[in-house]
C-alpha cells in the first residue's frame, strides 16, 4: 500500500527510506466515546491522548504485531492473550530470549480504569508510560525503539495508520511516543464486565444469585448477615472492579524482617522498607480466567488462593491486619469461588475492536 505513496517521496531526502510524505492521505480522526458498564468507575483518558477510532485501530495493529520484538517472534499479545483475559496462563512469562521475567503477566482487561499505578508494584502511572518499557526490556521483547520506529516507518501499512491516527505528514515523524499512545488507546477499550452474572444480577435485575453465590457474596463483602464469617476480601478487592487502590503484603512469605524477600515489590519503587513485599491487589473481574495467581503465579487455582487466605498466610512485619485465619468451611470456600465466577465475562464491550487484525 505504501508503494503508491512513493511518488510523494521528497527528493531532497532521497535515500532515506523512512522519508515518505503522507499528506495525500486524509487526516480526520473520529472521536471514540466509552460507555462504561454499570458500577464501574468514571472512564478517564489523558487530555493529550484522547480516544479515536483510528488511534485504537493503530494500537490494535501494534499490539498484535511481532514487529515490536527484536526477532519478530513476540508481540504484546504473547504475554497478554485475549483468550486468557489478556494474560498468558504462566507463572512467569518468557521473553524473546527465553528468559523468564520475575512476575506473572497481569490481565489487561479493564486496565484503562487503573488510575493508581500500573504493574504489580505500581511503578508507572499511565498506560502510555507502561507501553514504552517491554520493548527494550531484555527479558521481554528485547528490541530498541529506534529500530522499531525504523521498521514501522518502512512498513507498507503503518505510516498510513499513523497518519490517520495522529496526522503525521511524513513517515519519518513516527515516534515511540505516538506508538505507545496508540497502544494505550487500544488497551483502554479492553473493557469487560457488563455481561457478567454479577452485573446482570446487580444492575439488570434479570437473574438472581444461587444460594452458594449469595453466600459467597456475604462472605466476600462482610454483609453482616447472621452466622456468616467475614472473609475480609473486600478490604483489598473493592469497588466495581473488585480491585485495590493500594498495595498490600498478603502473607505470601514468612520473614522476620523487611529484607528477606525474593521480590521487594512496592518497596523497590518507594525505597521504604515498610513497603517491601507489598503488591497491588488486582481486579477480580474475570479472575477465573487468569490463573495462575499472585505476582509470582504460585497458586494454580482459585481453590489454592482461598486456602491461602483461610490459613491466615505467613507472618511478616507488614502483613495486612486483614490477613488472618478465617475458619472457613468447605461450603464457605466453594461459595466464595462461586461468587468470584459471577465476575466472569468473556465478552468485550467493543468486541470488533479487540481481535487480532493481522
Amino acid at each position: 500500500m505504501l508503494s503508491c505513496l512513493q511518488a510523494c517521496k521528497d527528493d531532497t531526502n532521497s535515500g532515506v527510506d523512512t522519508d515518505v510524505r503522507l499528506t495525500e492521505i486524509p487526516f480526520d480522526p473520529e472521536s471514540f466515546e466509552v460507555s462504561s458498564p454499570d458500577g464501574f468507575p468514571i472512564f478517564e483518558q489523558p487530555e493529550n491522548n484522547p480516544l479515536t477510532v483510528e488511534g485504537i485501530d493503530l494500537g490494535r495493529h501494534l499490539f498484535y504485531d511481532p514487529i515490536l520484538s527484536r526477532d519478530s517472534t513476540m508481540s504484546c499479545a504473547s504475554c497478554h492473550n485475549p483468550e486468557l483475559a489478556f494474560t498468558d496462563g504462566k507463572a512467569f512469562s518468557p521473553g524473546v530470549d527465553g528468559i523468564e521475567g520475575p512476575r506473572s503477566s497481569m490481565s489487561l482487561v479493564n486496565i484503562g480504569y487503573n488510575y493508581r499505578g500500573l504493574f504489580w508494584d505500581g511503578r508507572v502511572q499511565s498506560l502510555e508510560e507502561q507501553a514504552l518499557l517491554p520493548i527494550e526490556d531484555p527479558i521481554e521483547l528485547h528490541h530498541m525503539w529506534d529500530e522499531v520506529i525504523q521498521d514501522l516507518a518502512q512498513h507498507d501499512e503503518y505510516p498510513i495508520l499513523f497518519r490517520k491516527a495522529f496526522g503525521i505528514e511524513n513517515a519519518n515523524q513516527i515516534t515511540a511516543d505516538l506508538a505507545t499512545k496508540a497502544i494505550a488507546q487500544f488497551e483502554r477499550i479492553l473493557i469487560s464486565g457488563g455481561n457478567s452474572k454479577y452485573n446482570i444480577v446487580k444492575f439488570d435485575n434479570t437473574d438472581v444469585f444461587t444460594d452458594e453465590e449469595l453466600h459467597g457474596e456475604d462472605l466476600f463483602i462482610d454483609s453482616g448477615a447472621a452466622d456468616v464469617i467475614d472473609a475480609e476480601c473486600s478490604h483489598c478487592h473493592h469497588g466495581g472492579l473488585f480491585m485495590g487502590d493500594d498495595f498490600f503484603n498478603n502473607g505470601l512469605d514468612s520473614t522476620t524482617n523487611f529484607e528477606n524477600l525474593v521480590d521487594l515489590g512496592r518497596g523497590k519503587v518507594t525505597g521504604f522498607a515498610v513497603d517491601n513485599g507489598k503488591f497491588k491487589a488486582p481486579t477480580l473481574r474475570n479472575i477465573a480466567l487468569t490463573a495462575p495467581y499472585m505476582h509470582d503465579g504460585r497458586f494454580a487455582t482459585l481453590e489454592e488462593v482461598v486456602d491461602h487466605y483461610d490459613s491466615g498466610g505467613h507472618p511478616a512485619p507488614n502483613v495486612d491486619q486483614n490477613i488472618r485465619s478465617l475458619g472457613l468451611s468447605d461450603y464457605d470456600k466453594a461459595a466464595l469461588i462461586d461468587f468470584m465466577h459471577t465476575l466472569t465475562d468473556t465478552s468485550y464491550l467493543y468486541p470488533e475492536l479487540v481481535t487480532n487484525p493481522h
Partner: protein, 248 residues
C-alpha cells in the same frame, strides 16, 4: 507639577491596594505518638506491658472553617484525604507534615477552628464511582458497600507483648452516626506573618479512656461492624482530644 505628583502618588497607593491579596493559609498535619513523630510499623509503649504499632492511619478531613470574633465563618476546605500511612514511612519522612494550602482566607483574628472527620450525610449518600480519580471520594477502598457508607478513617496495626500473643487490631469507622464535627477554640491572628496552622494528631490519645486508662484492644481488636458502632464512635470522638494546634 505638584498636583500631578500628588495624583500620581494617590494612583500608586490605590493600585497597590487593588493588588493587595491575602496570604495563603497552610495547614500542616503531623502524626505523633505520645509526643514522638509516628513512624509506620515502629513499636511504641501502649498500656501495661503492651507495645503497639500502626500500619495504617488515614482519614477524611472535611467541612473545615475558621470563625472570627463576630461569629462569621470562613470556609477553608470542603474535603481532604489525609494519609499518614503514605507519608510517615521512616524516621525522616515522619518529620515532614502533610501540607495543604488555601487561598482567599481573609486576614482576621479567629477564635474557633472547626473541622469534621469523615464525610457529611450528603456526601455519604454518594459513591466512589460518582467521582473522577483526582477526588479522594473516588477511593473505593474507603467505601464499604455493605454499609452504604464511606469509611471515614482507618487506624490499624499490631499489639505486642512478650508474654502474650500478638494481636492485630483494626478500626474502620463509618456510617452517618459516626460522623463527628469538632470546634476547637483558638486565638489566632491570621496575617502575613502568621499563616500556618499545625495540627498534631497524637495517636496514643485515640485510645485513651481517662487519665492513664486506655482502650483494651485485646478485648475487641477489630471493629468494622455496623451493628456495633460504639468502639468506632469512641475512636472518632477521641480525635478531638488527640488533636493539638500550634501556629506559625
Amino acid at each position: 507639577m505638584k498636583q500631578f505628583q500628588f495624583f500620581g502618588a494617590i494612583l500608586i497607593v490605590l493600585s497597590c491596594l487593588g493588588c493587595k491579596t491575602d496570604p495563603d493559609l497552610t495547614i500542616n498535619f503531623f502524626a505523633n505518638y505520645d509526643g514522638e513523630p509516628l513512624v509506620m510499623l515502629k513499636n511504641y509503649a501502649y498500656s501495661g506491658d503492651d507495645d503497639i504499632n500502626f500500619s495504617v492511619s488515614d482519614f477524611y478531613f472535611s467541612d473545615c472553617y475558621l470563625t472570627n470574633a463576630d461569629g462569621d465563618n470562613v470556609k477553608i476546605t470542603d474535603l481532604e484525604f489525609i494519609d499518614f500511612s503514605a507519608q510517615n514511612k521512616d524516621d525522616a519522612s515522619a518529620l515532614i507534615p502533610i501540607s495543604r494550602s488555601y487561598s482567599d482566607i481573609p486576614e482576621d483574628e479567629y477564635t474557633t477552628l472547626t473541622f469534621s472527620i469523615g464525610v457529611n450525610e450528603t456526601l455519604n449518600a454518594t459513591r466512589p464511582e460518582d467521582y473522577t480519580s483526582d477526588n479522594p471520594l473516588s477511593l473505593s477502598g474507603h467505601y464499604w458497600a455493605a454499609w452504604d457508607s464511606y469509611i471515614f478513617s482507618k487506624f490499624q496495626g499490631t499489639l505486642f507483648n512478650d508474654d502474650l500473643q500478638d494481636v492485630d487490631w483494626l478500626f474502620h469507622p463509618g456510617k452517618d452516626e459516626v460522623f463527628r464535627t469538632f470546634s476547637i477554640p483558638i486565638e489566632w491572628m491570621f496575617g502575613a506573618d502568621n499563616t500556618v496552622i499545625n495540627l498534631h494528631l497524637d495517636h496514643k490519645k485515640l485510645f485513651v479512656i481517662e487519665g492513664d486508662e486506655y482502650y483494651d484492644i485485646r478485648e475487641k481488636p477489630t471493629n468494622h461492624d455496623p451493628n456495633d458502632l460504639e468502639p468506632l464512635i469512641f475512636i472518632t470522638e477521641n480525635i478531638e482530644g488527640a488533636t493539638s494546634i500550634t501556629f506559625e
